[in-house]
Symmetry: C2
Subunit: 190 residues, 2 copies
């Protein structure tokens, strides 16, 4: 299973088999059940998660008491509350497995040691953060440009497999809809 | 002036004086006048900008024909349309100097060569993107959590110097207000 991580590193940086055998020792593996929380609101944000298989989401409870999902992470995506992780603070978010998932995770201390011992991993993480940042910038423009309805139509057009994969109530939680309203919109499309 | 860049690198990575003399040759410097456009909507996004002195903003023209500002960059901040820059595509954004500004800029090709010749700069850019990504994640949560009015009040409380520095019509353009509406809110505070 860790082969998925090895291949992902190889997309961005050159790491030998021997080096990878060392690199992987900085990580732990976890099998998370469906709806299992990896991190809860108010906890110290200790880990950075890499999805080998499955699907995670990050959400918080908004002022209306409903779950606002802000991010999903599928295979080969990293996920954490980055600000809280880097500053070793309590998080305002919850990270939950949407499906049964297999996860690699690392602590900040170990990630820093990994980068000191294997400077080639600076290149890997530079690419990871660079792409995540570009995606977040695109997301911010989307949030300004499109109504929630338009955003849903775009997602259905551009990421049909993803929309199929994620339970509808979580798509609603990502868009800030009630599940009832989302099912109305879906009727309108079909 | 390039000393500002040298100090910024030193916050994240160890670079000798000799190395820095080499590194800086990958960049060009530009003096931009107030309201000068560095990049215009529809142009190929060729450059990554670093602010030595002054203030830049990034905006696009929304469907109502008004300027929606999505980012500001002050001293030691990097700015570009990252997705378009990385993929060498036309941009949907305009980047403009808000004040008379002094800018370093680099092309993607030169940035890639810089990273090959000076791998220590991978560490520098890893930190740059990592922090920018964490800030963008915070921004996304803000966009979900707060009304535009609350966002303005938070900004006044947390970044009073910045709110003083930026012309009010650009604060309005960032928040998605009309300038008239912003001046109403300001009256309510005072």
């Amino acid at each position: 299973m860790s082969d998925i991580f090895k291949k992902h590193i190889a997309k961005f940086a050159q790491v030998t088999d021997d080096e990878f055998q060392h690199i992987i020792t900085f990580f732990n593996t976890k099998e998370a059940g469906r709806k299992e929380n990896l991190l809860e609101q108010g906890q110290l944000c200790r880990h950075h998660y890499f999805v080998l298989q499955g699907l995670l989401r990050k959400f918080y409870i908004n002022e209306k008491g409903t779950e606002q999902t802000t991010e999903f992470a599928i295979e080969t995506w990293w996920l954490t509350d980055n600000y809280a992780y880097e500053n070793q603070m309590d998080t305002e978010f919850c990270i939950q497995a949407v499906e049964k998932s297999t996860i690699l995770y690392i602590t900040l201390e170990k990630q820093q040691k990994l980068l000191e011992e294997f400077p080639v991993m600076e290149r890997y993480f530079r690419f990871v953060y660079q792409r995540a940042y570009a995606a977040a910038q695109k997301r911010i423009k989307f949030l300004f440009s499109f109504s929630k309805e338009e955003f849903y139509f775009q997602a259905v057009r551009n990421h049909p497999e993803f929309i199929q994969r994620v339970p509808q109530y979580l798509i609603a939680s990502y868009l800030g809809f009630t599940p009832e309203y989302l099912s109305e919109i879906r009727k309108r499309i079909s």
